[in-house]
């Protein structure tokens, strides 16, 4: 890979992406068009996030890549290897050790710091897309702050279901101005978006970048009498006992027995290392030892 520039993209392209990022940080929540490049992985596999990370990384950075909260899901592995090859940066599975974290569909459970950058992979950047298919129309709606349609949708949900029927990619209002799609993170993660780290969002196929500077005001849309709830499965983690982390439901057998485990693998591993034990941890670690042998 020595034929390639640091982190694969040429310097001109990185410059173009950085300009878009700066614009995004200056106008939190606004979707900045950018000339997305064709990358060696397909659109839909995180090319937007990869381009943003590539433009952001410096040789001194430490990179963590997660998908569904885990470092070992296949696509996270693939992207981490890509940067190991093309950028030669240190990589880590520990959230606290990373300076740049690229993520798909989750925000890490551990609070992030001012010296960290979180890069999100975004499929559809436009929060109004499924209410209004035309891009010309939605850009106008954003520029005129015409978000009535969004609230109509929430109203209709309550009229029909008795509750807002959006569980992920839950729309937010940023600094009281732009309505933004936080990417398909579960709504449980929405409150975390008011954080100390810089958050960058990359949509490669749709050619948009947007951003949230540190300590940005991010409010999930709701009604006063139907307030937003950051809900999750009412269960602790069966491995580490955590009560406050988002859980994966794992089906154990034909009888439908199931187990709940932290989606954030680093969070769970750190807790277990610190001595926390969940209800099924003993049985699970025995099975782990069997497979490792």
């Amino acid at each position: 890979m020595s034929d390639y520039n640091f982190a694969y993209l040429d310097e001109q392209t990185k410059r173009m992406i950085r300009r878009a990022i700066l614009k995004g940080l200056a106008i939190p929540g606004y979707q900045v068009p950018f000339a997305s490049r064709e990358m060696p992985m397909p659109y839909g596999w995180g090319t937007g996030g990869v381009q943003v990370s590539a433009a952001t990384l410096t040789p001194a950075d430490t990179l963590k890549v997660i998908d569904q909260g885990a470092d070992d899901t296949t696509n996270a592995v693939s992207i981490r290897k890509f940067f190991e090859k093309t950028a030669g940066v240190d990589t880590t599975e520990e959230t606290a050790q990373a300076s740049v974290i690229q993520t798909r569909h989750r925000i890490p459970e551990e609070d992030l710091r001012e010296d960290q950058i979180l890069v999100y992979q975004v499929p559809i950047p436009e929060p109004l897309r499924f209410l209004e298919p035309s891009e010309i129309e939605t850009r106008k709606m954003h520029s005129l702050e015409e978000y009535g349609l969004m609230h109509v949708k929430l109203y209709e949900d309550i009229a029909k279901h008795g509750a807002i029927a959006t569980s992920y990619a839950y729309p937010v209002k940023v600094e009281g101005r732009y309505v933004m799609d936080p990417s398909p993170i579960p709504k449980f993660d929405n409150p975390k978006m008011e954080m100390a780290a810089i958050q960058l969002f990359g949509a490669g196929r749709e050619q948009r970048i947007y951003a949230l500077p540190p300590y940005c005001q991010v409010v999930s849309l709701d009604f006063e009498d139907f307030p937003f709830e950051a809900s999750k499965a009412d269960h602790p983690c069966d491995m580490c006992g955590a009560m406050d982390s988002y859980l994966d439901e794992v089906i154990m057998d034909d009888a439908g027995n199931r187990m709940f485990v932290c989606s954030d693998t680093d969070y769970c591993a750190s807790r277990r290392k610190a001595g926390h034990v969940g209800a099924q941890a003993a049985a699970a670690s025995a099975a782990l030892k069997e497979t490792a042998a």
Partner: protein, 364 residues
């Protein structure tokens, strides 16, 4: 027993190894060479060059070999490669009027200067499987004639002389580059043409077909279809003049479409245009039809609501790399979001059932 899913890295490595094996196939069968693909599957090579937006038959042939014949996968390889190439500049516009035509036909006139030249076409073949091709043998000798030397001016020039067809307006403007700037709407004709020439052949074909069946019909006649090589020239700053840097094969299609005018304004035919790398007729003709359909607004026609008239619809869905990427990405894990949906639906079901039970109790 719960075992955390690990070993993603090993799984990927094994998958790639198996893929390599499948690509090679039966070891007792001779390996395909890139040269064989380039020479004997040239129409596939053309499509990969056109949609990859990169003219290099050897690279396209390699991509097809590596992609095991999956054309979109091959196009993806070329696109990704193209991204890494440095740009030295832009060529001068190619002069297709100077094309050495291997094939040149017109549906609008029985004959014209330059003649009707069939070239290497499938058009009049009978689609019967030729089992003689199963045996690899010597190619039979083909009779050779004199190479054509006469100039072949564009058919539309003749219509132009009478003022019968709208002239394309010459412009000094540098067209925008679709691969360097994000697509923003409304797009202009140069950007639409770029999107169409590199758009998925199947998609553009279907859109063109729809216009023929009445979804914004524009009465297309193939004014001219020409295929052949053109020189590519570029001005070199260090030299101060333009030199020929190579030649490429192009397919150009000009359609003559529905005329416009009124009782007081003399009517003229309108035009559609298609230009594609290599011999790619189906694509060039499709492109010309869709180009014409998308011009409804600048030609003052009605928006009939046909898909081929909808610039946003056509341009946003014509790129097969974007399309397949997004389509296939649904194979990736989405269990975190699915978990949220599970929680939501369980909650709503609980509430719905709570709302119905009191009635039942009263009835009992």
């Amino acid at each position: 027993m719960y075992v955390a899913v690990k070993g993603g890295e090993r799984a990927i490595d094994n998958a790639h190894a198996w893929l390599s094996e499948e690509r090679r196939g039966d070891l007792n069968v001779a390996e395909l060479s890139v040269a064989q693909i380039r020479e004997q599957l040239s129409l596939a090579v053309n499509r990969v060059m056109a949609e990859g937006s990169l003219y290099d038959p050897d690279l396209a042939a390699l991509a097809i070999k590596q992609a095991r014949g999956d054309m979109i996968e091959a196009i993806f390889l070329i696109r990704a490669y193209r991204t890494t190439l440095p740009r030295f500049g832009a060529s001068a516009p190619v002069a297709t009027a100077d094309m050495a035509c291997d094939r040149r036909i017109s549906a609008t006139f029985k004959d014209a200067p330059g003649g009707q030249v069939l070239g290497p076409t499938f058009d009049y073949t009978h689609r019967l499987l030729d089992f003689a091709l199963v045996a690899e043998g010597e190619a039979s000798a083909v009779e050779r004639g004199e190479a054509r030397a006469e100039p072949t001016p564009h058919i539309t020039e003749f219509l132009n002389k009478e003022g019968l067809i709208q002239t394309e307006v010459d412009s000094e403007d540098v067209p925008g580059d679709l691969t360097r700037e994000p697509l923003e709407l409304p797009a202009n004709r140069p950007l639409r043409l770029q999107a169409l020439t590199r758009g998925d052949e199947g998609f553009v074909l279907s859109m063109a077909y729809s216009t023929q069946r009445g979804y914004a019909r524009n009465h297309a006649f193939v004014g001219e279809l020409r295929i052949g090589k053109v020189p590519v020239e570029m001005e070199i700053p260090e030299l101060g003049f333009a030199i020929e840097v190579g030649e490429i094969e192009l397919t150009e299609c000009e359609t003559v479409n529905q005329f416009q005018g009124s009782k007081t304004e003399p009517p003229q035919f309108t035009r559609g245009y298609g230009l594609v790398f290599g011999q790619s007729e189906r694509k060039a003709i499709s492109m010309a039809l869709v180009d014409r359909a998308l011009r409804w607004e600048e030609l003052g026609e009605d928006n009939l609501g046909a898909p081929a008239q909808d610039e946003e619809f056509v341009l946003y869905h014509s790129d097969n790399i974007q399309a397949t990427g997004f389509l296939e990405h649904i194979k990736l894990p989405h269990y975190v979001d699915f978990q949220s949906e599970l929680e939501l639906i369980r909650k709503l079901r609980r509430e719905a059932m709570e709302n119905t039970t009191p009635v039942q109790e009263a009835a009992e």
